[in-house]
Symmetry: C2
Subunit: 247 residues, 2 copies
Amino acid sequence: MYSSHLAASSRSASIPRLSLVPEIASLERLFVSQPVETFEPGGAVFWEGDAASHVFHVHEGCLRLYRILPDGRRAVMGFAHGGEMIGVPFPASYPYSAEAVTKVRLRRLGRGRFNAVVDGSDSLRPLLLARMQQELGVAHKHMIVLARLSAEERVVAFLLSAARRTGAEMNHPVAVELPISRLDIADYLGLTIETVCRTISKLKRDGLITVENRHTVILNRMGSLEKLAGGTDEVDDAPPLRIAARH
Amino acid sequence: MYSSHLAASSRSASIPRLSLVPEIASLERLFVSQPVETFEPGGAVFWEGDAASHVFHVHEGCLRLYRILPDGRRAVMGFAHGGEMIGVPFPASYPYSAEAVTKVRLRRLGRGRFNAVVDGSDSLRPLLLARMQQELGVAHKHMIVLARLSAEERVVAFLLSAARRTGAEMNHPVAVELPISRLDIADYLGLTIETVCRTISKLKRDGLITVENRHTVILNRMGSLEKLAGGTDEVDDAPPLRIAARH
DNA sequence: CGTTATTTTGACCCATGTCAATACGGGTGG
DNA sequence: CCACCCGTATTGACATGGGTCAAAATAACG
């Protein structure tokens, strides 16, 4: 389960510190003494290309991570939600820009300091590795979405992954909050805003989802949706595939 | 700069070993005592989903790394060429399958052993980190290609990256070897084989490239090609972009 | 309540996919 | 060495998913 550390660390915030109890190692804990910064929607946390001086822990809110091509096209590489960290695996300069989608509260830590502390801790190092592996896994998954799924499959996969983030039962109806705009979704899925809209409308017509309002969608028939997603989902614990490859 | 360590390590290969001179740390060196294995074209090195027991160092040849969706669609996540390592950042099970494209010679190392050695070495650890950062960077770059470039831009970007791998002058004509089949290219670029062919034919007609034979292409006008690639290329040392984002 | 941004829908078009035929190349056996 | 065969690549004709352009509807915001 991806978010085990996150769950543990956020819980720990409410646990009184008993000095004799060994702390459970967590990367998130490194940020606790840092001041909390606030960003209003649209505010930039950092820009692609700038020297990557910090690593961030998003306390609450949602950020979009994106790059702009020379001709203005935008590619949203992903989003960062409350509880997640950004920049853990950053190279010398930020590989993308980060902007607040909603009001964001976060903490930052100097990259050098972060690296030094983690590198010096036997318990933290594996956590960093795991984190980076996870990040790579997410990127690979998204590559598949972009490379091989149809517009409808992409949108459904997106909705399902959003639903999964809520931690709700993957069985029946789930209400999904989408603070993210249609345009952000489009740029994330490699589609246009119109296609995203139309696809959502179609899913609505077909009764698979209910659109409460612009930022709230209810997934009615998870089973059908998962079929529509083209099997990209929940690959994590899917049985090994050995289908013969085309050559 | 992503590849600073890498450059250093490959340079070290040509430095005579004086026993009193401290060895220059390199991840590749961990494999030298392992036996070399050979795979014929089409041979599988490992399968997606299998327990990730090993880490690999490709000595020579070319591998394709891919996943198959439940309905048979294939997504090629990337290729591994001589000199490169695969699996450094692998989680518990292989996230994709690896097959030899050409005859491949490689060495393997138990993942546990690899991790233990690297984790125990102050000089190796940063190399691993850098390697993983680089890998993530490659994935991000490819996400952009898949999300936002046209068919022609994708093919050109692919050719250019292949050319860059040769290390040749990025100025005038470069001959590029493509052991990879059109189908592999298509599945890598999120296109169909026909579109890849047509695009290559068009580039040929326009005089931008010359097709020596199926597996050799000459890039005639690098400048024009780089323009066609949509600016995805050489992003590494491009000036920071601060173009206003659409909202 | 206007004013403006975002989303949705419509009409149309084009890049890319699909289906099918042909051409090419590289190996094999006679 | 040649004829054949089969896998790969190329080209053509056609279909269509998704892009583009434009307008209307809805929601957010003073």
